[in-house]
Every structure is written in structure tokens, then in C-alpha cells.
Symmetry: D2
Subunit: 262 residues, 4 copies
């Protein structure tokens, strides 16, 4: 299916402020970006670079005053996520070296503290896809998904205690549970077709059977329509914008996702 996605951001800055954006989706195994538009209403140098996790990031210093950012892309993505209950656990010794970092605990995914819970959730499952599927189902049943209920990231431990959270929070707990079973897991931020209320979305991927699979504890069935914008260990890595210095005022954010015909 073809989706047209867009993100509008507006800032009002009191002092010159360095920004790093992560808003340009990349073509990859799962999606093809046929059209990509990226407007920043500033006449300053903008440098684009690729970070550790393969994301395209944009750096610039915003001068005092207001400015806006607008990105839109036409993306070919799948109508359904890939599902394979037979995809097997990859032994640590057989993982590609550049996947190993997704086994470690990170800022919001204290995987070192979730081994018992993960074992109990996946007790009767085959190692691999079935384990992660059980984790996702457990999240759906046990952690209430309440969009808009928090403004800043909380960690897997806090999510597990609070028993509710936004998409980012459920992903953190899912990732921590996977990693505690030696299953590589990473955070994805991006767009999702028909998300309600519409916003940037977060989900997680687990590395099973030699590739990454999508898991989203906020959704039902195998519905697809995902557009990935950034990958990382957790929310610390995938902010769509990072600013350094005083917090910007009057931020507005508007997201759209529309199915189109091509």
C-alpha cells in the first residue's frame, strides 16, 4: 500500500539553539520512499549525517525567533506485518556482530531486571517468534495503552509498576523483556496508518530467524501500514528532534497519514 505521511513542527526560540532532527525516513527492506520533501523555514546551513543506527539526522542552529519544519513522504509499505510463528531464536553466537548492541540494557530498557518476568510470560513457548508474540500479548492484556497519558519517556521498570502507558512505554517494556531472553530488540519511531488519535508512533522490532519482525502491543491483528523514521536502543535514541539548551516554547506538532493511489 502507498501512504502519504507528513509531520509539521513549529518552534519559538528564545536563544540560538542547536537542533538535531530525525525526520527523514529511509528506504530499506520494508519500505520504499518514492517522494520525500523536507522544508525548514530557516536560512541557515543544515548538515545531514548518518548516525550509529543508520538513521539520517539533520543538524542546524536555529536563531532566535520562530520557525517551522515540514516533512512529507510518499511511502510504499506493507498492508500487513510479516508474521512467522516458526521463526526461530538465533543463538547469541550466531548473531551478526552489529546486532549484538540490541541485547544490552539501555536508558529506558533495564533488561537486566526482567529475566524472571520474561521467563514466566514465555514459559511454554518455543524460543523465537512465539516468545516475542507472547510478550506482546501479555503487554496488551496487562499494560493499559492510554495515548497521550505521558509527556516524557519512562523506563520499563516504571511502566511495569504503573501498568499503563503510551506506545513508547509499552515498547520499552517489550524490548526489555525480549533482551532479557537474549532476543535482540530495538525501538522504532514512525508513522502508522489509521492510528487514533493520529500522532507519531512507536513500536518495537525483535530479531528472529535472521531478520527483524515488527511487534506493536497497541494494535490488534496483523494490520500493517507502518512507516519507520528512526531506529535505536530506546526512546533516548529516536527523538524526532533533540534540542540543546533552554526548552523551546510554543511547540506545535501535526501529523498526517493518508492512503494514496499510485
Amino acid at each position: 500500500m502507498w501512504l502519504r505521511v507528513s509531520c509539521s513542527l513549529a518552534f519559538d526560540i528564545e536563544t540560538p539553539t542547536p537542533f538535531i532532527l530525525m525526520l527523514r525516513p529511509r528506504s530499506g527492506a520494508e519500505q520504499w520512499i518514492e517522494l520525500d520533501e523536507f522544508k525548514i523555514s530557516l536560512n541557515v546551513p543544515i548538515i545531514e549525517f548518518t548516525n550509529h543506527y543508520g538513521n539520517l539526522c539533520q543538524r542546524f542552529v536555529a536563531p532566535t525567533g520562530s520557525f517551522s519544519i515540514y516533512t512529507t513522504s510518499d511511502v510504499k509499505t506493507s498492508e500487513f506485518i510479516d508474521v512467522d510463528f516458526d521463526a526461530t531464536f538465533v543463538e547469541v553466537q550466531n548473531l551478526p556482530s552489529d546486532i549484538l548492541c540490541y541485547l544490552l540494557p539501555s536508558r529506558y530498557c533495564e533488561s537486566d531486571r526482567f529475566n524472571d518476568l520474561a521467563n514466566s510470560i514465555t514459559a511454554n513457548q518455543q524460543p523465537g517468534y512465539q516468545q516475542v508474540f507472547a510478550i506482546k500479548e501479555w503487554l496488551k492484556t496487562n499494560i493499559s495503552y492510554i495515548p497521550g497519558s505521558s509527556d516524557y519517556p519512562i523506563s520499563a521498570t516504571e511502566v511495569n509498576y504503573k501498568r499503563s502507558g503510551v506506545c513508547r512505554d509499552l515498547s520499552h517494556l517489550g524490548i526489555a523483556l525480549c533482551r532479557s531472553l537474549s532476543i535482540p530488540a530495538r525501538m522504532v519511531v514512525g508513522y502508522l496508518h489509521e492510528l487514533y488519535p493520529m500522532d507519531m508512533h512507536a513500536w518495537f522490532e525483535a530479531y528472529i530467524g535472521g531478520r527483524w519482525y515488527t511487534f506493536d502491543a497497541t494494535q490488534t491483528g496483523q494490520k500493517g501500514g507502518y512507516v519507520s523514521v528512526g531506529y535505536g536502543l530506546d526512546a533516548a535514541d529516536v527523538a524526532i528532534f533533540n534540542q540543546f539548551g533552554p526548552v523551546a516554547h510554543s511547540l506545535q506538532q501535526s501529523i498526517t497519514v493518508t492512503e494514496i493511489k499510485k
Copy 2:
């Protein structure tokens, strides 16, 4: 200045053929891609990856039959190339590690064979920008630029013997001469505003005074309007498409570069 650039390619394939494209310009220190469109008239998976030199490449297998590729971008670039006669030679020991590969000889730039010529061309020049400028001027005077005069890359040695060549050939000789003086140099393929006859273009960059500078022995003065699409050691690295297997028939290629207002 804002340029709208485009490239159309048409192929007719007799047998399923793997392709690697290098046709998506990247935003960087010198240019900003505000709009980027990339159409391939095939319904096959296309994987994008970043290669050694930071280029975005696209891989796919074209099935038997005909297909087309169309890319267009709106790019902000400079009206004039940067010129700095005071930019100094960077001693090898002070070069960043990832620049060192641009000192070595490569397929079409046998820099190991040009030390005498380079010394003679730059005899009275200050080390750095002035040396490379002298090399560029020498190329303009001594190697006739004849667009369309060759179909496949020839090496610096061959260009020096032949005394004429296309943009790619002049760049190869320029790069070989720079490297023989321990000045890192790389090939760039891309678009150039008002190039006549219009086509994909090639020029070279030299690393002086801590950054890359543009040199183009086919042009006069400080005229800008360059849009970089790919970087590499020489033409072997920056083909806008590589195909593997039997050569494709009926190739058509159409390039446009238009100044636009934004």
C-alpha cells in the same frame, strides 16, 4: 540558488539482472535536498543501503523486459564554488583517518606514476589550494575537454597520453596528480547547472585546509550550481548504475537541470 535536477533512464533486459543504483543525492555540508522523488517502474523489492563512501545506493533485481527509472530533486546549492588560495596543505599525519583512503592509487588514478609531472606543474606554488588550482589550470590548457568523446572510463595514464577526454577523464588525471603530492582527492558525479551538452557530470574535490574544495577543469571561473550525487575514489565507485550479467539493451538516458525559485 535552487536547482531542480532530474535523471531518466530506460532499460530493456533480456534476463533477470541485479542492479545497483547511485542516484539519490544526499543533503550535506554543501547542498540541501528539499524535495526528492525516485520512481522505478518495477514491482520488486528495492533495498537502499549506504556504502563505504557515504553514498545512498539502491539494489534490486530487474526482471526480463523493459523498465524505467526517474529521479528528481529540488536542491539548494551555491551559485559560486568556494575558493580559498590561502587554504593550506594538510600534513598526512594531521589528516582524519577516514580521509587517508583518498591518498591511495585507484583503478583509474595511478597516482603512483605521476609524481614528476605533478611536481613540474606545481613547481612554484604554495602547498595546498594553489597547487590544486595549478593542476586544474594545467588540465584546462593541456587536455582538451571533448564531451561525449568516450563511452567507458580510461585511466589517468591513458588520459595523459591521449591529451583529450570527457569530464570523467580530466577528473581522473586531476585526482592522480593531487594524490601524487599527498593531497587527498576524490571523484564526484552529479549535476551541473548550464552544462552543455547537458548530461551527468563529473568533477573532483581536493581536501585542503581541513575541508573538501571543488575543482572542475571543464569549467571557467568560479561558477557554481553543482549537485553531488556520489563520491568515490574514481569512476569505478561512482557509476550511477551498475548492472551484473549481460549488458542491457536500449538504454536511454535523459538529464535536466533547471533553476527554480523557492
Copy 3:
């Protein structure tokens, strides 16, 4: 000065267990490894790879039973750490792209929560080295260094609450405070001459004035004798060994550091 460092580890494994070691120090700007010995008493394939942070890591699967690891190196390092109170803060927009990851919060360094404390500690300091020096001094005064007082990493928030910790804990808090001021900071694990009691050690580095400087809140003055073995965002990245699966029994660890003449 020349140091001979060594690390002995002994394991007893109940089930085949994948290990990843980070025990081979690398030559770099600050140290030169003249001799390097690395013995593992197993006849299994061992693969070495370089991770995200430039560390040499070794992977293998240990079979059931006991085995030992022994590494020793002769290293040239400085007798005194570099100190430069004039080294200035690097604005975020001027940081190299590959340094930016050291600004983000990580598993044990919740830098997003320490801005007020960092500002209060560094209130009257010039941006840059003087700020980090003030942080280090504050750690020395306010957080008791108690070697051997904890077995597993705790985070900066926990360290700040507990008011005491091992070398790793003080580093976590130091890193979190630096990052909250937009100063890149990273964890280092390695050896330290005359550490008492002798053990593997941890300290932190801050990126100021275009390079990394060493800071160690557990030591006094400008004493050097550091040998770096691994770098990372925090303790999650720099374990000298990671094992996957059931915890190994009967672990023994012995560390030596001796000054030698060359």
C-alpha cells in the same frame, strides 16, 4: 611510563554459554600496546570484532566445564593525566557527528534528570574543562568512594540518592552531570597503576576543546597510569565480559598492574 597489566578470569559453566569479552586494549592517541597476550583455555573458535564504540570484542561459546582467560599487555601511557583549564566547551553544532551519541541519556546515566544539579555545581565556572573539573570535585566531596561496596551497576539517580559508590557509580553520576550540560561524556573501563585495592577500574572522559580528557573522582591530583580497555555510554557497554544464559559459577578474577622498564 611503561605498565605491565594483566587480568585472569576463571569460570565454571553448567551449560554451553555464549561469551563476549572486551579485554584487548587498543593502541590509540593516549596509549601504545607494545605487547599483548590473550589466552583462553578452550579449543573453540573465537571471533574478534570491533563494536560501535571502537572496542575489540571476542566472541565464543564456552562448553560445559571450567576454563580460564588470561590477558596481559605492556603499555606505554602517561605518568600524568592531561589537564587544561582553558579547554573550552564545544558548541553542539561544532561537535563531530560521531561524538553526538555521548550527549544522550543511557541506561545508567539519566542525564535528562540532572540539569538543575549540574547547573548548581558549575554555577561560577567557565564552560568547558572548568565545569567538568567542578563536577569531579563535587563528586569527590559529596559521594563517598567505597571500593567493593556493590556488585552490579546502579544508575546516576541511585548513586546520587545513596551518596556512595564504587568507581563505576561515581563515573555514572559524573557522566550524567556532564551530558546534562551538553558536554559529551563516556565511560572508560581499564587498569590504573597503584589502584588500591587492585581491580579493574572505571573512570570517565569528557569531550572538551576538541578532544577527550580523563576525569576520575576516585583519585587525587593529576596522577596518570591509566590503561583503557573499553569505551561506551556507560557500564552497560563496557562489561569486560558478557555471558548469555545461566550465570556462571566459581568466578575468580585477578588483576595486576606493574611498572616496568623498557
Copy 4:
């Protein structure tokens, strides 16, 4: 088998000269470096870095005068090279992205000019290992291996014309032939047990069936005892030392390889 390898170099320099060495073998899938010693008789800063191809390189500036370099390693390697006549050709579309660069022509391997010869040599072979084996056998039969017969690298085209060469030359032609068949191939420089006369050696590897295999047209049978020191596209990438500026005088080079018991 365990080998103790060593390399001694002596230089006499007329003017301060930047050097880049590639003399530290790395542990990897095929070899384990248990002991590694690296002495440079200079009191200057030496920086080690990892280059594009994963090699450990050492940079320094040698002052005027004489100095020596001595490296030795104890390495576990195989007594026999791996041979698998069933290892199959990997279609270009299935190659890992970071392998693709080994398909391109390079300074000394003009693979773009060898398609006809490669097809004729491998006419009746199964795609994959059998093709490369046929290339190696053809090299043994058709290109005389004359150790010490040349001092500087010549390219595949020149080797093919000259019909004789040193180990490096045979490798260049072998690599060019492989690449012309879309088989990734790379140059390896290193040590070989029982090489006569003893010297640094060069051979090539081809990527077949998902891994690299060793091929050496200068040797007979499946004899092993290889210790890899550097990898690259061709001899331009794997010089054990590169110097920049006037050529050094009085170079001496001494190589030893001895089997040891461990």
C-alpha cells in the same frame, strides 16, 4: 597449528616522513592472535586506527635518522585451507552490502576487461567454488610464479600480458577474473608457513557460499599455515607500510615464520 611470525624493518630517513603501517594481524574467524608484540624504535606518538577494510593501521611521523620496526605474533591457524567444491555462487542481490565493493574494478584489478577470458577459463564449471578453483588452476598453468621478479605492483592486464609474476601479480589477475564473473574477491597480505624464499606473501580470497575462501596460485594442494595481516581491493590497499614524501633509504626487511608448540 601454531605459528610464530615476525617482521623486521629498518629505515633511514632524510627528512621527517609520515608513515602508515599495516602490520598488526587481527584475530578473526580464521585465526587467533594469542601473542602480539609491536616495537618501533622511536619516541613519537603513534596512533592506531581501523581502516575501511577492517585493518588495524598505525600512523606516526618518523624524524630524520634511522629507526626500526619489529613485530611478532603467535597465531593459531589451520594446517589446511578450507575447500568446498559445493560452495555455490552467491547472486549479487543476495550479497551483504559491505561485500559489494569487492565486485568493482580497482587500481590493479581491471575486472571490467576480463569477462571473456574468465568465461573461457570457467566454461564447464559449476558457478561458485569450482569456477574460482578453475581460475586458480589456470593461473598455476599459465602464469609463471617467479618470486622476487618485480619490485612494484603491476596490474592484472600487465600480468596477463607478461605471463609471469610474483605472488601479488598472480593474485591481481585471479581477483580480476573472479570479479568479472560477479564473484567478490579481495587481496590478502600476510605470512605463509614454509614459503620459499621466505617473505611477506600475498594471496586472494573469494566470497562463495556465504563466506570467504582462500586461493593461492603459488602453492600446491590444500596446504595451510596462512596468517592474514591486511585485506583490501588490491595491492594499493595492503601495503605493509606507506610512506609519504621522499623515498626512504637503506630499507631492510626480514620475515620469519616458525611452527611452535603451545
